[in-house]
Structure formats: C-alpha cells, structure tokens
Symmetry: C2
Subunit: 400 residues, 2 copies
C-alpha cells in the first residue's frame, strides 16, 4: 500500500531542513534544523530515564503548545547532567532559532545527542543556528539526517506516500541510533514529518501506538539514554479532511506510520554498534504485549545470546535461559523454539537437530527466532543485534 520514495523529511511538501557544521564535532556536520513554514502540530515520546537531558525537559514543555514549527538538533554533545547552565543553553537554542525564523519560542523544539556532562560550546552553536536558518531548503533533508549522527555508520532516512481520502499523503523520517537502544528508546532520535491533516490529540495517540510497536521493540545493548526522543510534526498540507476521530482514515494513518517506524527501527538495528547480524524474535501464544516484550527483550539483551549469534552457534539453551530469568509468567513445559524453520525445542525439551542446517541458518545476516508459548492469542515481533568485537572497540573509546 505504502510507496517508497526517495529522500527523507523534506520529501514531505512544505518541509524545509538543513544540516551544518558548527564546531561541536571536529569536522562533521553537527547541527540540524527542521522547519515548517505553515503551522504544524507535533507529538513526541521522550526517554523514560530518570536522568533527562536539558533539551528533553525543554521540548517536553514546548510540545504541549498547540503549534510546532521548528526542531533544532545538535550532535556531539548531549547537554545532559549539565545543570542550570545546560538548561539555559537549551533554552537559548530555542530562542535563537525562533528569533531567526520569526517564530514564538514555544513553537520550537530542541534535541541533543552525544557525550554526557559537558557544556555546549554555545558560541559555535549560535553561529550554527544562524547558518542553518539561512540555509533551510526543500531538499535539505539528507543534510539534516547526516548532522544528527554520532557513532552511526550510515545516515538513516526514508520517505513513503500513501493514499487517503483521494489525497496523496507523504511521511518522511530521519533517525540516529547505534548503541544504547532500549527500552523505550535509547540514544535514539527519530524525527518524522508528514503533510497529513490531523488533530494534535490523534497525532499523539498514533505516535504512541506506533512507537510501542517499533522503537520500543528494538535493542542494541539494553541501555536507555538521557536524550531519546521521537518527534512527529504534521503540517496539514496534503489537504485531506482533517482527522479528528478514530476511524478508517486514522487507522490507515497508524498503519502507514507503523510501516515507517518499523522500517526505521530495522535500519537502526542493522547499523547498531558493531552489529554483524539482525536478530528478529517472534513470540506467539503470549497473553499480553508486556509479557511478550519482556521475553523478547530478555533474549535480545542477553550478552550470552548475542555472542552465540555472533559466533553462529545454535546455543538455544541461552535463549530459554534468558526467557527464564525475564519472566515468571510462562510455562516452561510447553515452550517450542525454532531457528527459522528448524525446531530446536519442543515442549520445553531440547531436540536433536541437524547441526549443518543450523550453521547454514545462522550464517545469514538476518536470523529469525520463532517462539510459541501456547498460552494466549497475542504475538509480538522485536529486533536486536549480535555482540561482536567491533561493539567493544567502538564503545571502549567513544569519548576520546
């Protein structure tokens, strides 16, 4: 149904963006700006970490306003654990952006990612905001997508269109991921733009629903950062009858949004720090989303499971072990486990299986694990990565 088109956030009519280098990082782009000339509505989901970075606090306040017009993002410095001065710096980023774009500061959101506990070099940031405001354009999405990266190795952007009430709706997205991705989004930023016309409460509801089924079901290393946020901004320019209640139109939008966010989630995992494999865990027969998620995340966050996948070793014992310490709600004696179509456990007991076939399955770049709990009608799909030497290399020297 959804059609993939080229570009990212500026594939959406009426959205301008850019990315510049201002000097927080050595020589890479480090400041991105997204702008909607027409008044948009926005919704956001923010980190659940008790320690929230200054930009998270500022954006959490501003997103409650009826209109959102711009989002300014820096990379290279998280502006977290930076106290009162950090809070003032985040406010200053908002004010400056508003001033240059002739907006009310309450219409601007701010986001940061990078090292924790250092003050922002505000002189550089101020110059960067001015330059970004002057360079906004309708093809700038890719520059913005580049400017929000940290240890990411590829830029992450996608755009899709779908039909609604005879109108073409576009959704564009960019994200930053890599390590620290779990739970409830971690060192993970995603910015989504769309031209759909929708009320703010329904945009919020759609985003929450979609995050639950995408970004909240991925994990690289189980850490949740101080800075995570997912923001969606809708400018209404598609001209569809404004969605103001749940109904067919709303559900079609949620479906499209799920498609976008699940795809972005998989891109993030594929580019997880040191990832050599994407592991997909499908759990069926659970009695609730929460139970399924707890089990899937328990498996995908287990270093023993992750290293076994890296080593292409069919050590399914580690999968059932991780399940056993992640939940007390399932019945061990009725668990079935498959690696792709190869069954390795039946009713809680290990099976003799074809090791050659297992090796072949595990040598692929993407491996699916299927688990049946035979308890209820719910099912869940989550994504994670293996744990490689490269993960250790990247993360043992991130700061320097």
């Amino acid at each position: 149904m959804e059609e993939v088109i080229s570009g990212g956030i500026t594939a959406v009519p009426g959205i301008k963006a850019t990315g510049v280098h201002c000097g927080i990082k050595g020589n890479k782009k480090d400041l991105a700006l997204i702008y909607s000339p027409s008044p948009g509505v926005a919704a956001g989901v923010f980190t659940t970490n008790l320690i929230k970075a200054a930009p998270v606090l500022v954006s959490y306040r501003n997103i409650k306003e009826p209109v959102t017009r711009a989002i300014v993002v820096n990379s290279g410095n998280a502006n977290a654990c930076s106290g009162e001065r950090g809070r003032k710096d985040a406010e200053r980023m908002v004010e400056l952006t508003a001033q240059h774009l002739d907006l009310d500061p309450s219409q601007v959101l701010v986001s940061s990612t990078g090292v924790i506990g250092q003050f922002l070099p505000m002189e550089a940031v101020e110059k960067g905001i001015k330059s970004a405001c002057e360079n906004l354009n309708e093809e700038g999405g890719t520059l913005a997508a580049e400017a929000i990266l940290t240890t990411d190795t590829i830029k992450k952007e996608r755009a899709y269109t779908f039909e609604l009430s005879g109108k073409k709706i576009t959704i564009g997205a960019m994200a930053k991921g890599s390590g620290m991705i779990y739970p409830d989004m971690a060192t993970m930023l995603a910015f989504i733009t769309t031209d759909i016309s929708i009320s703010k409460p329904l945009l919020e509801k759609a985003l929450q629903e979609s995050v639950k089924n995408s970004y909240n079901l991925i994990t690289v290393d189980g850490d949740t950062s101080t800075n995570d946020m997912v923001i969606i901004m809708a400018n209404g320019m598609a001209g569809n009858p404004k969605i103001t209640e749940e109904g067919e139109e709303y559900y079609k939008f949620v479906e499209a949004l799920n498609f976008v966010n699940k795809e972005m989630s998989r891109i993030i995992i594929r580019d997880g720090e040191g990832t050599t494999k994407l592991i997909e865990v499908n759990i069926k027969g659970t009695t609730s989303y929460q139970m399924g998620r707890r089990l899937a995340m328990g498996i995908l966050n287990s270093n023993l499971v992750k290293t076994a996948f890296f080593g292409e070793d069919a050590n399914w014992g580690r999968i059932i072990t991780a399940m056993g310490y992640s939940s007390r709600e399932f019945i061990p004696e009725q668990v079935d486990i498959y690696l792709e179509d190869l069954q390795v456990m039946k009713d809680g007991v290990g099976l003799q299986f074809d090791e050659d076939k297992a090796r072949e399955i595990l040598s692929a770049r993407e491996v699916k694990v299927f688990i049946d709990l035979k308890m209820g009608p719910e099912e869940i799909t989550a994504w994670g990565s293996d744990l490689s030497y490269q993960y250790v290399t990247i993360n043992s020297s991130y700061r320097s």
Copy 2:
C-alpha cells in the same frame, strides 16, 4: 579475625572429597564429590530462573531432609531442559552415590553445570561416581575444585579458621563462576564446608544473609543460569556448643561466612569471562538494600559502562545514565560520583576533572566507584567486570 589457611573444602576436619575425569568433557576432570563421614546439616540457595535444571529440583527437595552427607557435581553438561529423562538421570546420580557410600539417597545432593539441553552420558557418569566414591580422601578438595570448572581459567578455593567459644572453627569453600553471574547467582556454583556445630534453621538463615551480601552482589553479564546453587554443609566436628539461636556466636559465624563468600565472589569476578578489570561499586546514602542493589547492578550490567572501563575511559555519563534507567527512587540533583578519590559529578552535575589522574586510576586492575545518593543510612558494595574482546571470543563459541 579470620585466618587464611591453605586448601579448600577438605581443609575442614572430617570432610573428604575428590575430583575425577569420567568422560563428559574431553580430557579434563568433570565429576566432583564431597562427603562427610559424620552426619551433617546443610542449607542451600538455588537459582531464581523459572527454568530450573533437573539437579536443582532434586537437590531442592533433598536439602529439606535433616541430614546431608554428600554432594555429587558434574561439569560439562547442565542436565537442563532435558525433560523426564534428565530428571531420572539426576535421581540416578543421587542413588548411585548413596549406594556406593552406604547412605540414604535423601542425604545426597546433586549439581550440574555446562551446556544446556543435552542428555548426560550416564554410562560415563556412573563409572565416574563409582571411581569418585573409591577415591575420596581428606586432601581431595583441590581435585574437586578443579572438576567443577567450565570456562573458568583458575580453580577457586579458599579456607579460613576463626575462634568461637574457645574452639577453632574452619570454613572451606570452592566455586565455579565465569559468565552468566547475576542476579541471585548465575552459572555459579559454590560449595562451602564447615565443622561448626549449628542448627539447620540457623545455618539456613546465615547462608541466606551471606549470599545476599556476596554472590547476589556480583555480576559478569547479567544472565542467571538454570543451574546455580550455593550449598553449605556443617558437620559439627569443631565441638563448639551447638548454635541454636541468634546471639554473639551466631553473629560471629555470619561475619566469618560473609568474609569467605565475599572473597569467593571477588575471585569469581576476577576470573569472569574475559575480565581485565574488577569494578567495585560502593553506593552510600541509599534508603534500602534493594534500591542500592538495583542501582549497583544497573551500573555493573551496562555494556556501555563495561566497555568504557575496558577502554579506561572516564565516561561517567554512562554510570549516571545506567542509574537513571535502573531506578526511579533517587534524586538526580544530589548525586555525587567519584572514581577512587577523584570526584567527577557533584550534585548531579559533571565536574571538570584531571584527565591524567582519571587515566591513571582507570589503568589499575581494580577500580572503585563511589556514589553518594545522600538519601538514607544504607550502603552497599557490589562487584562486576569490564567487557573485553576476550568475553566475545569465549562466548561466541562456548558450545563447540
């Protein structure tokens, strides 16, 4: 107060043991036996994993009996997820040991560690039990300590003496650790012998108290295995007036037991899979053991924290981040963090600090982190390890 003596479990008068090779593993010792000719009392703490290996279920039942005389342990095969057949094999190990030693089967405990989901090679195990029973001796502790190892690189045994009511009490211990150590003990076996005279209920209470402050405060990779157990067996041969109620004598014993178990815990962590550093986290100013433990384990299980220590990078932002997603009970604005005596955070805000000094501190093989929450009178000390290339190597090919 406690005096370290040489040896391990057989340093305790009246305890016999041995370790033999029976053929579960290629050419290493793989079966250990501990035996008390005089009737002993025992206490145990078992894995909290919902998936419990067959020997855990059997020992959990037998340890409720008033007298325990022997413990048979195999390595190389966990006898977990092995269904009805596994259960019968564990019972058979108990019966055979009882038969050879002329005991009631209810007086024998059984323990296994190794790969999950494979059936025990019972012919080899049966031969091994016979051979072990024939070779029991009062200097066999070290052989037993060798026979319970899996990926451990060093054998783990210690013995201590202390005075009680004018009598010399001896405590001996052996353990097996490496990866998967958390929480509530994981792929971790510890067997403690002592000649103290104590009632079974107080022995149980002392063990539980001590495990809480030792094995339950260590972590290598956050996984909890299907097979963990800590068993203590007291044969009463020291001749002290039998401890039957809490009082000075009981507290002295708990203190000595804490000393032993904390030391064993540190040995386990130092030999954790691929460990290059021991990280000690001291949290003071907490309001409860549970809160302190949650925070300490959150820090010590964070792959980002662990890789930063491996890289000797003073990235304390990852410490406060891990705290923030592990608990919602503390007040970020009043947290102080020190690496040894170098303060890096004051009242929730990062400090400029001497990077040379930080590098020097982090280059040591043991690093202490001090955290003050300034909330309550409780404090806690926990131990963990860094995450190195070697961890990935060991765990990506354990099964093969």
